[in-house]
Each structure stands twice: as structure tokens, then as C-alpha cells.
């Protein structure tokens, strides 16, 4: 792989394309997917770029197979991703759970459109945020990032690969149609190899290797298929050897570790952007395209002398519980504009625990909030 594989410089491009370029810069060399508006441009770019850099692009028969293919690719040692939107995201849920259970690093970009079902294929929504958290069955933790610009589609795709490698967990890039399809300047800097995380590798000889060895930490070393290390993986509850063990004790040990490796590292995973939060009486909590509208509204509110702030969730999962708990006694209200009928607002309300009001500013999808709508909510709560 030559160091010139990744593009560098300033480009005017849409978010989906920037996501694909971020993946290339992160070292992703396998993409399997099925075209769907508004995520198709990710696949389109990858189909052009991966052959240029010695990678593999496969258009699969559907999204179920796409998710499976990237899990398999990841086990051969490459960084792999897929991209989809609502209907495809639903189809991927079962194998997303498999990815969590097998502890397979991979990245899944969901360029959200309005649902449920076919919904509004070409138009924006943020309705899959809870699905990202709980969409597969069983209890698990996941990492989900939300970009608010083409620049962040590039940057956060790299972050997504790093987190997935570091914690051996599928990472979701929960973009939306607005950010995926808008074009802006994207600065692609040269990514130093040291900035890229790799999954922990076995340090022992093959005879001593245990695929789910957790003695050294919560994230077990991962062998490469065909690399001389024998291993067995299964969606069944398994022990350190990777073999099925059908007991409550094995379940207890495994699920605690799968959850704790994210939960106990939440502080290291969570990224937030804060504007004027420190002295704020009203804090707008938002993410993705909605946070851009909120930023505009918060600025206008400040111009009117209202102490408003913006807390932008760059990481939605794990949720920034500690920050909301810390702010709750200091603010009058949290305002949560999101393009759904109330998802993240539930988390905010839970963490505010009655110490501050959590007010939803909903939008059913198909377009974005008008800044005035968010501003009016800020004015009312500041009274």
C-alpha cells in the first residue's frame, strides 16, 4: 500500500463522498453494500476508489449479506465497512448483533432518511437513533457517532474505524440525508499511520491462543484468519476458547464484558462540542443536521441577551450521561430538537432526573427545523 493511496488537499464534495474518502484514509480496504438512497454515493465512491488502492468492493444481493460480508472480511484482517439507509439498516440488525457477539471491528454508515418502512426515500430524518442503540436483540453496548458536516463525515469515519479497532465493536456512523448530500469544503489532511488504531493482536504462540482471552483486559486479542492461529467463533454464548457454553455463568461473564468494555471506557469514547454552555440557563442538546440549526438559533438567542448554550453530541452512544447530570442542577431547561418524535430527549430527561426540564422540539422528517422554531423554544424556556 503506497502512502499516496489517500487523497490530500481541499475538496468541495458531499458528505457521502467524504465518508468514503475518510474510510480510505483510515485504511478501509473492503466494502460490501447494496445501493440505497441517500447512501448510494458512499458505495459509488468506494467502487471507484477501492480498486485503485488494492481493496475490494462488492455489490451484494442485499443488506443482510452485506453486513455478513464485512464481518467475514474483518476476520481476514482488513478494515471493512458498509453504508445504508433505514430499510437496509433494519435488515442489517441481526448481523450487527452477530458483529457485537463475535467482537468484530467494522463500520456501518447509516445515512438516515424518513421512515418507518420506505418512508421518504430522498428526504432527511433522524429516526433511527434508538434503533442504533437497541436494534439487535439481546443486551449490548454500541458506539454511534453523528457527523454534522461533510468535513465530519470524513473525520468521524476515521474515528469510527479507530474506535471499532480499539474496542472490537461495530461502530455506527449515524449521518442523515442532509449532511450526506450537502457539499462543502472538506480538508483532507495526511493521516499519520500512528493516528490509526489497530485491533489488539495475539502476543502468545498459536498453541496458547484463546480467541476470547480476557485475562489481559476487556478487549481480547484478535487473530487473522489464515494467519496460523486456530480459532472458532459463534453467535452462541461462548467461553474464552470461542466454544459454545450454554450456562447462565458463561452468559454472565460474556455479556458483562461486552457491555463493560464500552461502558467503563465511555469517557474515552464520548466526544462533545460545547458552545456557551458554562454560563447557560438554557442548553440545547442536539446532533447532526439539527445541531447546525440549533447553533444558529443559540447564536440568535445570545444576540437577544438570552444565556443559551449548545451541547452537540458527536457521540450519541454511549450517551453523555455524566455531562447532562452535571449540568442539570445549573440550568433551567434542556431543549432537544431532533428530527423524530422524541428519542434522545428521553435520555436527556432520564439524566436530568427532574433537576431541569427536558423539552422536545420534534420534527417528523422530510425537512429540517426552521431556526425560528428552535429559537422560540429557547425564548420560552429562558423566561
Amino acid at each position: 500500500m503506497s502512502k499516496d493511496d489517500a487523497l490530500c488537499g481541499e475538496f468541495f464534495m458531499n458528505g457521502d463522498t467524504a465518508c468514503a474518502e475518510g474510510a480510505i484514509s483510515a485504511g478501509c480496504r473492503f466494502f460490501a453494500g447494496y445501493p440505497i438512497t441517500p447512501a448510494t454515493e458512499v458505495a459509488e465512491r468506494m467502487s471507484e476508489r477501492l480498486p485503485q488502492v488494492g481493496g475490494v468492493f462488492i455489490q451484494m444481493e442485499d443488506e443482510i449479506a452485506s453486513m455478513n460480508a464485512i464481518l467475514g472480511a474483518s476476520w481476514t484482517g482488513v478494515k471493512a465497512m458498509t453504508a445504508t439507509s433505514g430499510p437496509g439498516f433494519s435488515l442489517m440488525m441481526e448481523n450487527l448483533g452477530l458483529g457485537v457477539m463475535l467482537e468484530t471491528p467494522c463500520v456501518l454508515a447509516n445515512i438516515q432518511r424518513a421512515g418507518p418502512s420506505t418512508g421518504l426515500p430522498t428526504l432527511v430524518a433522524q429516526g433511527d437513533i434508538m434503533q442504533a442503540r437497541w436494534g439487535a436483540h439481546g443486551h449490548y453496548e454500541i458506539v454511534a457517532l453523528v457527523p454534522d458536516s461533510p468535513q465530519e463525515m470524513f473525520d468521524l469515519t476515521i474515528t469510527a474505524f479507530n474506535l471499532s479497532e480499539q474496542y472490537r465493536v461495530p461502530v455506527l456512523l449515524m449521518a442523515d440525508e442532509a449532511v450526506g448530500h450537502m457539499s462543502e469544503k472538506v480538508v483532507m489532511r495526511r493521516i499519520n499511520q500512528k493516528e490509526l488504531a489497530s485491533r489488539p493482536r495475539p502476543k502468545v504462540v498459536p498453541e496458547e491462543y484463546l480467541p476470547y482471552d480476557s485475562r489481559e483486559g476487556l478487549v481480547p486479542p484478535m487473530a487473522v484468519a489464515g494467519g496460523g492461529y486456530r480459532f472458532h467463533v459463534t453467535g452462541l454464548t461462548h467461553d474464552d476458547r470461542g466454544y459454545p457454553v450454554m450456562t447462565a455463568e458463561a452468559q454472565d461473564k460474556l455479556i458483562r464484558r461486552l457491555v463493560d468494555k464500552i461502558r467503563l471506557n465511555a469517557k474515552n469514547i464520548i466526544r462533545l462540542e460545547e458552545i456557551g454552555v458554562d454560563d447557560a440557563e438554557v442548553v440545547v442538546v442536539s446532533y447532526g443536521i439539527s445541531a447546525r440549526i440549533a447553533r444558529y438559533a443559540v447564536q440568535k438567542a445570545r444576540d437577544e441577551g438570552i444565556k443559551a448554550g449548545l451541547l452537540r453530541l458527536i457521540t450519541v452512544w454511549p450517551f453523555a450521561e455524566d455531562r447532562i447530570r452535571e449540568l442539570a442542577p445549573k440550568v433551567k431547561a434542556f431543549i432537544v430538537p431532533e428530527i423524530n418524535y422524541g428519542q434522545i430527549v428521553r435520555e436527556v430527561e432520564r439524566c436530568a432526573a427532574g433537576k431541569a426540564k427536558a423539552r422536545l422540539v420534534p420534527h417528523m422528517g422530510g425537512s429540517v427545523h426552521l431556526p425560528e422554531t428552535v429559537l422560540e423554544a429557547i425564548r420560552e424556556e429562558a423566561k
Partner: protein, 185 residues
């Protein structure tokens, strides 16, 4: 915070979206200290359906990415005229292709017109109507500098067509300068 909004509208196949991309890129990459966000909307059809490209320009990063009240509105189909001219600010500069759009005389906004499609046909390639239109827009408004737009055209159009496209741009630009002089703008 200064904010300028531009909408280009017409039918699918006229190069509206590409024109928006070229304009947004010109401002974003080739002008200093300016930010531009380009979005598009279109119907399900590949050709013939109405489509619109929106460019928001600011001297700081753009928050709300869509057009609220355009400073410049380019219209290349009757359907787009009917859709986008109600509730326009009297300050909006409207540019039409008179062979494709019959304006309503009672509407109050600054109206410019250029037969971009026919001029392109006379040049031998109707596909450059969008570039002629961009040249005209550059001349009659202060949205973008001509040098930046030319650079953006050259960075975008297929190899070997640069010179032809710059010719189309210049045709529209000079046509625009004459009209701007006439109207005293």
C-alpha cells in the same frame, strides 16, 4: 454574519445541479474567507422533473444550509418559475431564460433574462446552457468572482472541454455585462 443565498432551478437534464456544484465550489475553494454550502433537490425522474440547487454563502461556517430568501434566483423552466416566484423579496434578482419561461408582468422583482439555451445551441452544444447562465449570473450579481468561477469550471468539466466551457462562460458573462450596464446595476 453576512449570508447570501442563491437558488438555481429548472428541469432535470439542464445541468442545474452541476451548475450549483460549480458555483459552490468556486466560492468555497477559490475565494478567500468565504464558506459555501450546496444542496440540491430533485424529483424521482432522471430527466424532465423539476430540480433545484441551493447555495448558501457566508463569511463564517454556514449553519442553516437551505435557502430562506434568495438574493439571486435563476429559473430555466416554467414549472420552476411557478414554484419559486411567489413570496419573493422585491430585492431578489431573478434571471430567466425567456425561451423557457414566460414571466408574469405583475410580479415585482428585478428581472434579467438571457436566452442561454438558444445561445448554447448556436455554439453547437446545448449542454453548455448552464455554463452560459453561470457566466451571466457572475456578471449581473456580486455572488462570485469571475476568476474563481472559471477555475471551478476547469476543475469540474470533462477533460478536453475546458476551452469550450470557458467560451460559453465568457459569452454569458459579456451578455450579462451589457445588460447590467443598460439597467444601471
Amino acid at each position: 454574519m453576512s449570508r447570501t443565498e442563491v437558488r438555481l432551478s429548472g428541469a432535470g437534464g439542464q445541468g442545474i445541479v452541476l451548475a450549483g456544484q460549480i458555483l459552490g465550489q468556486a466560492i468555497s475553494l477559490y475565494e478567500k474567507g468565504k464558506f459555501a454550502t450546496f444542496t440540491q433537490s430533485y424529483g424521482p425522474e432522471a430527466r424532465g422533473g423539476s430540480c433545484s440547487a441551493e447555495i448558501v454563502v457566508s463569511d463564517e461556517s454556514v449553519g442553516y444550509p437551505y435557502v430562506i430568501s434568495p438574493k439571486v434566483l435563476v429559473i430555466m423552466s416554467q414549472e420552476a418559475y411557478d414554484k419559486y416566484t411567489p413570496n419573493l423579496s422585491p430585492e431578489t434578482l431573478v434571471i430567466i431564460d425567456p425561451d423557457l419561461v414566460k414571466p408574469n408582468a405583475s410580479k415585482k422583482f428585478k428581472l434579467f433574462s438571457i436566452p442561454a439555451t438558444n445561445l448554447a445551441r448556436e455554439m453547437g452544444r446545448v449542454v453548455v446552457a448552464n455554463i452560459i447562465m453561470l457566466g451571466f449570473l457572475t456578471a449581473v450579481s456580486d455572488v462570485v468572482a469571475p476568476q474563481a468561477l472559471k477555475k471551478s469550471i476547469l476543475a469540474t468539466v470533462p477533460e478536453g472541454t475546458g476551452e469550450f466551457n470557458i467560451k460559453a462562460f465568457t459569452l454569458g458573462y459579456e451578455y450579462g455585462l451589457k445588460q447590467a450596464k443598460r439597467s444601471g446595476a
